[in-house]
Symmetry: C2
Subunit: 209 residues, 2 copies
């Protein structure tokens, strides 16, 4: 059956990385999409594994040709999701996970309406701030900036298909997993792959009638 | 939060009753809807617990007034789902389970589009026939009739929101449970009850903006 394109967004500090890593571990059919970028490769980064490294010209070309499901500029570098690679993987029945910001997520939904958009909310903005401070990876100004961006992202959450509050990692994870399982059995999706739902030719004929 | 109206249909012999009983046990917020009927009460049946027993006139009145979410005639008796009772329970946050045939299910969807329709398929019609024979509760003619009805019901399965094959009871059950969990976190549903998703007034304001 065709795979699912799952898009997860969350403000920094919401616990998205933990949830995503748990998902990757528990759902063997799930794969990360590999982005392309104009950023220079860092030592140890492998072409086609960490990123597809492109020149600015090539990246521009891809945008113009509509070859990117979404793209964004971050601190002077461009990042994008190659459409052909994702579509190919989905056709092979692999589920693809995109971990991108709200702007990218809404671009994906526009270009591929079957995508499943899941937004992960922090229990509160106070809690988010607390988590960011506790993490101690950012200085006060960066945290302040992250909180401003978080507010903007949250204001777009209602455009997502699903919204989950990450108050406890285990319950949030169960919800995430349930969403992925449930989406697989939507008639809307199954309709195009009925022969993979049942091998009984008689049932198949009835379903298609 | 407003409850979910879950409608499950399956051909006789598909294992629906086992699945439904397991659901009722595992999901404490889930309740069976009590039908009304023109059938006479059998010894031990309690009004308002097993059924609401109505006269034919009262039943007709309810149909005319649009007070039934769905109704059907079975062997000369009428059965229906009272709309007011279901709506009241949903408003109180209880999830309501309806175990009805395809005709009824499609009536419910028409009258209450938020209803979640789940169809449970047998692995094959051969297997269904085998299960019906093994059950040994019906004679050959009844089994034959059930198989004819099963074909008709299956041909309407693609009008449901979800389709599950009951090849193994445990996996089918997990899918059912996932569907119910996932549906709770659909933005579409949550939008009307954002204050129950988060108690953080700042996040609430952002979501509503």
């Amino acid at each position: 059956m065709k795979g699912l394109l799952i898009v997860i967004s969350a403000p920094s500090g919401t616990g998205k990385t933990t949830l995503v890593n748990k998902l990757m571990k528990e759902i063997p059919t799930l794969e990360f999409s590999i982005s392309c970028t104009t950023r220079k490769a860092r030592p140890g980064e492998v072409e086609g594994k960490d990123y597809y490294f492109l020149s600015l010209e090539n990246f521009e070309q891809k945008i113009e040709n509509g070859e990117l499901l979404e793209w964004a500029e971050v601190y002077g570098n461009f990042y994008g999701t190659p459409k052909d690679k994702v579509m190919e993987a989905l056709q092979k029945g692999r589920d693809i996970l995109l971990d991108i910001d709200t702007q990218g997520a809404l671009q994906v939904k526009k270009n591929y309406p079957e995508a499943i958009l899941i937004f992960i909310l922090p229990p509160s903005l106070k809690e988010l701030e607390y988590r960011l401070r506790k993490r101690a990876t950012d200085d006060a100004e960066t945290i302040e900036k992250r909180l401003i961006v978080a507010r903007k992202e949250i204001s777009l959450a209602s455009k997502y298909d699903y919204m989950i509050v990450n108050d406890r990692i285990e319950t949030a994870f169960e919800k995430l997993k349930s969403i992925i399982t449930a989406e697989r059995w939507k008639t809307e999706r199954i309709k195009k792959h009925l022969n993979e739902v049942t091998s009984d030719t008689e049932i198949l004929k009835l379903l298609e009638s």
